[in-house]
Symmetry: C2
Subunit: 139 residues, 2 copies
DNA sequence: TTTACTGTCTTATGACAATATGACAGTTAA
DNA sequence: TTAACTGTCATATTGTCATAAGACAGTAAA
């Protein structure tokens, strides 16, 4: 569970923690049932306030991604989505639409977009176990 | 150029304007070279302050999507991305990675995701000319 | 020039976001 | 019980965001 923060990114520290944990879970480098780093140790390592980490964990818990066992710690949950299949598909459709708008404004055509999606899917499948993005992003 | 705002969405008014114009451009219902609604008329129609619309237009201009001709109005630009092809691909890869993380947490598998992407691509191709999402999103 | 339309800038204000400190409560093991 | 660890809550501070009002500047046509 390597993590590091970019304080110049403009993105709040607690959201960077949220994203990195979600990405680790999605790429398989963090397994269901596994315990997360303690709030205080992680805060010390990242050199941020413990409540900033606590806020990240609270956000993950509110999203149903982790659970906390009082006095013990926080753990990654297995199948956490509380939504029905159709609701989950609807949410994802909206995300996809947003992606298509971005692709259009980046002048990336349909074929190329599909290639990129397949490329990234393959990268995810590899589970590099690294921090951040699952496989490094060719510049 | 139909638009309407949802004041309960939590999303700022000016960003809703930005998104709707970008979506209109991406779906073809707003054509390159076309003039946008004036700041004051649009603000009146949406019942928001003119500066809120101005902020949306400023954001679109900073993204290189529209240009303003002083005294005349704002116009949609054709090929606006100032980035090289590889930079554009890199940006999109990061967006795609974010989508894949979301899909994972929504427990939507690879095959199903690809189906959804194709479904939305087809919907975009149809250019409904409507506001908001290009083709209505089956609930 | 005048009028009426474009967008722009400056400044203000209210709300909220991000972070920080201190006191607190549950769990485990010595 | 005590000590050391877990996470939590209440609260305060700081800064930024979203929105708004007024004055301003460029353009076009009468």
């Amino acid at each position: 569970m390597l993590m590091h923060l970019n304080f110049n990114s403009g993105q709040p520290a607690y959201l960077q923690v949220v994203d990195q944990i979600k990405t680790a879970a999605a790429s398989g480098s963090l397994q269901a049932g596994e315990i997360l780093p303690g709030i205080r140790p992680l805060a010390e390592q990242l050199r941020i306030n413990r409540n900033t980490v606590a806020k990240a964990y609270a956000e993950l818990e509110s999203q149903g991604i982790i659970e906390t066992q009082p006095g013990k710690g926080c753990f990654l949950i297995k199948n956490h989505s509380p939504f029905t299949r159709e609701v989950r598909r609807k949410i994802l459709r909206e995300e996809i639409d947003a992606l298509l708008v971005k692709a259009h404004h980046l002048q990336v055509e349909k074929e190329e977009l599909l290639n990129l999606v397949n490329e990234r899917l393959a990268a995810f499948g590899k589970k590099t176990g690294s921090h951040g993005t699952p496989a490094s992003n060719p510049a």
